[in-house]
């Protein structure tokens, strides 16, 4: 029983591991210069595929994702900075194309609320703790 369970766990971990290293980038897309290729990959990982919206274009095999990967590689070869490439994409597709939303006035609540809730939580814990100590 424990043996089968262990095998299942090991297999599922292995699946996780191997799925992490399988990307949708096809060999003919690779750039000759490895440094540029790594840069293009890093940028692609932050760009949302707008067809399969919870995947990055690095993971997605949608045609639009492939087009955008190719476009990013062209821009990397032309020595555009990361900021220039991100701006090119957000000018056309909006901030939604970035998997990580930027910190702006409109996203202020999004970024700050977790901290606010954490502080409220700690405060409640602190108060409750004090109360229970008093009772005992």
């Amino acid at each position: 029983m424990t043996k089968t369970l262990l095998t299942i766990v090991i297999i599922s971990i292995m699946i996780q591991f191997f799925s992490k290293i399988s990307y949708s980038v096809e060999p003919e897309e690779f750039l000759q210069n490895p440094k540029q290729e790594i840069r293009a990959r890093d940028i692609s990982k932050n760009i949302r595929c707008l067809v399969c919206q919870n995947q990055s274009i690095d993971d997605s095999s949608a045609p639009l994702a492939k087009d955008l990967r190719a476009l990013i590689r062209i821009k990397v070869q032309e020595n555009d900075t990361d900021e220039e490439i991100y701006k090119f994409l957000t000018d056309r597709y909006g901030d939604f194309i970035l998997l990580k939303p930027p910190f702006k006035i409109s996203t202020f609540l999004l970024w700050s609320l977790p901290f606010v809730f954490a502080i409220i939580g700690i405060f409640i814990l602190f108060v409750q703790n004090k109360k229970s100590k008093k009772l005992s």
């Binding site: 707008l50 045609p63 639009l64 087009d67 476009l71 957000t90 056309r92 909006g94």
Partner: protein, 177 residues
């Protein structure tokens, strides 16, 4: 004492429940994205025209009358479905419609237009989908309303249907306000 503690989580839970229920009930398509090009000038681009023997230069084409820009392809099923409505907008309403032939085979497109009729004042070639990227296209068919000042006023993602035709037409009329 204990009752007081339970009230806050209960209200919070109820609030979350109402919000989720509201989002479920309202008609909304989460895959439909707002365009960032709204209220901006049309992108500048040049390409080949499929119907006329001249280059299509975007600067010369917009800014005189209300124009629809329709991204389509012969391989796209919904494009075929909306064709009849594009013809209606062109024939009955006299609208100028520019068709962007997205990643398609020109010969097939010419055949397609012969078969279904041509609602377009011009059909332009976007063989690699780069014009599409400039317009923020992520899934065809997409139709943009450009007003007579050359400003993009609306984008419809998906096809024009019997259901949304009237609403879409009122958006066209509103684009000049």
């Amino acid at each position: 004492m204990k009752k007081k503690i339970l009230i806050f989580p209960f209200i919070a839970f109820l609030f979350i429940l109402i919000v989720f229920f509201y989002l479920l009930v309202i008609e909304r398509d989460p895959s439909e994205l707002p365009s960032v090009l709204i209220d901006k000038k049309v992108p500048i681009f040049e390409t080949e025209s499929l119907l006329h023997k001249k280059k299509f230069i975007s600067k010369n084409e917009f800014g005189t009358e209300t124009t629809l820009v329709n991204f389509f392809a012969t391989w796209c099923g919904p494009c075929r479905d909306e064709h009849v409505y594009l013809k209606r907008l062109s024939n009955e309403k006299g609208l100028k419609i520019i068709g962007v032939n997205y990643k398609d085979d020109p010969n097939k497109t010419v055949e397609w237009l012969k078969e279904l009729g041509n609602p377009y004042s011009d059909v332009i070639v976007d063989s690699k989908g780069l014009i599409g990227i400039d317009w923020g296209v992520y899934g065809i068919p997409e139709t943009y309303i450009v007003n007579s000042k050359g400003i993009i006023k609306y984008r419809l993602v998906g096809s024009i249907t019997k259901k949304n035709y009237n609403a879409f037409y009122s958006k066209i009329k509103k684009s000049e306000d």
